[in-house]
């Protein structure tokens, strides 16, 4: 059974890696890592959001913060068209909730095992949220996060040093520290003390213009890292010794500059130099060092596990009746081939939404790009063919139908037609292409990609077994 996966983001990569682990021959067709490469350091299975349509931060009596597990349960209960509800049961209930949390935990463990060789770990869990700072000074109550930002839990830190780096763009330590302090007041938790600490970096280390990406590239070199280590070790020299929190109770918060690779080893050396915990801030789209690290680590894992990867765009799919038979690929740039054709017995669509190219606008309407599958918004209204501007509202924080739209699937992740039955025998969908939720406000983004990608892989393995028998 030949499996083709379309989409090189987290959903497609996780599915391909899982299929390879089950020894099914799999080809991944990827034009890039899509929205995954723009992700900012947390995995976000069920993260609270300040928007009304998002998941709650607190319980009903507002006395305490909800745990990630409770928020996952709230997502199942209150979002009937969310992919989690499709997979684990709409009514919620104990069985659905434990199925969902088991799936999340095992998915995070699988991803962790694929990323470890690239020095990237998936940290966290469903029992307690980590309060992580992003580059703008917003606090995110994350459940899972990647090495770099994951070490920056602001809870449990008595003192947070916000590093000030002269000349670095997109980073202003004082407003960042003020914003973080205000976030703790807004959340209603006792806050650590925030202190701005200048890092004494030599002239010339920060390039003209202050590009954080160029600083990250410098940190990737041994010499660049040595300069950063010296600055971190020497940051408090000349300060009057006072009563300072030590070790685990102190956190040095850096902007996202810790290199494109090997971040685990870099952090270990920085911790030693700093004498306390060290972490990066979460990024904020579209600037995303963490997203590039994740995309690189996924590419490395695909190569290592023997997944065939075609760097190409899909032009069209060949189909007969209720089966998809082959993919027609656009020729790669510089290639003399006219068009490549790839036969497949099973196809997984993990092509994302507009950023990934899974959804497109043509002839004045919104459509699924390859099969024109029916699209549904969060309320379950069919919207393919609608003009995009009919699906947006005046203010960005309002629910936006355009960005909760995608295909609808059954619990086996087969895309459904208007009659509620699967449209194809051998087609599955995963990741953001599945609609019914808004990643920006509901903050279940990469969690959905990972969980649906792995579930699609097991459904495909089951189908392969049935067809082989």
């Amino acid at each position: 059974v030949r499996v083709a996966v379309i989409g090189g983001g987290l959903a497609g990569a996780a599915a391909a890696l899982e299929l390879a682990a089950r020894e099914l021959p799999v080809t991944l067709v990827s034009a890039g890592a899509g929205a995954t490469a723009l992700s900012f350091g947390s995995l976000d299975v069920a993260v609270p959001s300040p928007e009304g349509s998002g998941l709650p931060l607190r319980d009903a009596t507002a006395t305490r913060l909800l745990s990630p597990r409770e928020r996952l349960a709230a997502c199942l209960r209150t979002r009937p068209r969310h992919p989690y509800a499709t997979l684990f049961g709409r009514s919620g209930g104990g069985a659905a909730e434990s199925a969902a949390s088991d799936a999340v935990k095992s998915a995070a463990a699988s991803l962790d095992s694929w990323l470890v060789p690239s020095g990237l770990r998936v940290e966290g869990g469903l029992d307690t949220a980590r309060l992580l700072a992003n580059v703008r000074g917003a606090v995110r109550a994350s459940d899972f996060a990647f090495t770099g930002p994951a070490e920056g839990d602001l809870q449990g830190a008595a003192e947070v040093e916000v590093a000030a780096i002269a000349g670095l763009a997109q980073h202003d330590a004082h407003p960042l520290a003020r914003a973080l302090a205000a976030e703790f007041a807004a959340i209603g938790l006792p806050r650590p003390s925030f202190r701005v600490v200048p890092l004494p970096l030599p002239a010339g280390f920060i390039p003209d213009g202050g590009s954080p990406a160029r600083v990250a590239a410098r940190t990737d070199t041994e010499e660049g890292l040595r300069v950063l280590l010296e600055a971190v070790a020497g940051r408090a020299r000349g300060e009057t010794p006072g009563r300072r929190a030590e070790g685990e109770r102190r956190l040095l918060l850096l902007p996202p500059i810790l290199g494109f690779s090997g971040v685990q080893a870099t952090l270990a050396r920085l911790r030693e130099a700093a004498g306390c915990r060290v972490a990066e801030c979460l990024g904020a789209p579209p600037a995303s060092l963490a997203g590039l690290r994740l995309a690189n680590a996924l590419s490395a894992a695909l190569l290592r596990e023997g997944v065939v990867v075609h760097r190409a765009r899909v032009r069209a799919l060949e189909r007969t009746g209720r089966r998809v038979n082959a993919l027609r690929l656009l020729p790669r740039q510089g290639s003399s081939n006219t068009e490549e054709r790839l036969e497949a017995d099973v196809l997984l669509l993990a092509s994302g939404r507009f950023l990934g190219g899974g959804l497109v606008e043509r002839e004045g309407g919104v459509h699924e790009a390859l099969l024109d599958l029916p699209l549904y918004d969060e309320a379950g209204v069919r919207v393919d063919g609608w003009a995009a501007n009919r699906l947006v509202r005046a203010s960005p924080e309002l629910p936006q139908r355009l960005f909760s739209t995608g295909v609808r699937t059954d619990a086996r992740l087969r895309p459904l037609g208007a009659d509620g039955a699967p449209l194809f025998e051998n087609l599955f969908a995963a990741g953001d292409l599945i609609g019914g939720f808004d990643p920006a406000t509901q903050r279940t983004g990469l969690g959905v990609a990972l969980v649906t990608g792995l579930r699609a892989a097991s459904e495909i393995a089951r189908l392969a077994e049935e067809e082989g028998a």
Binding site: D172, L180, F354, V392, A440, R443
Partner: protein
Amino acid sequence: VLEETPSAPRAELVTPSPRIVCACEPVTDAELIHAALREGLRTLTDCSLRVRLGVGACQGASCAAAAAGVLAEALGWSAEQAAYELTTFLAERWRVATPALAGAQIAALELHRAADVGARGFTRGDRTGHAGEDSPRRGASWEAA
């Protein structure tokens, strides 16, 4: 017509190595600081009118937050005011972008929404906020006790 006050030499206003805040319509932090302290610029929307901040390809998705940081530092905004200025500015960019949506503009708007709504915290914006005595312009050793 705005005039520079002769008593404050311009060199004081300009950082030694300007940082690029907006790459679409090249704007440096030095320009923003100068415009804020000498030309009466008060909001991010003023920035777009005066130095074209955020009116290029990304419509503020890449630069608005960084510019808010620079202005917060220069003008002593509180966290609440910085949040207010940022959301107000991005809401205006959203309003301008949404009536005519086609092709790649939809993907750009999807990214814009992730950069705005997807990265917000829990602090409520308030336009009257001021960092007050703790303003970093008045003392570099600001500390949130």
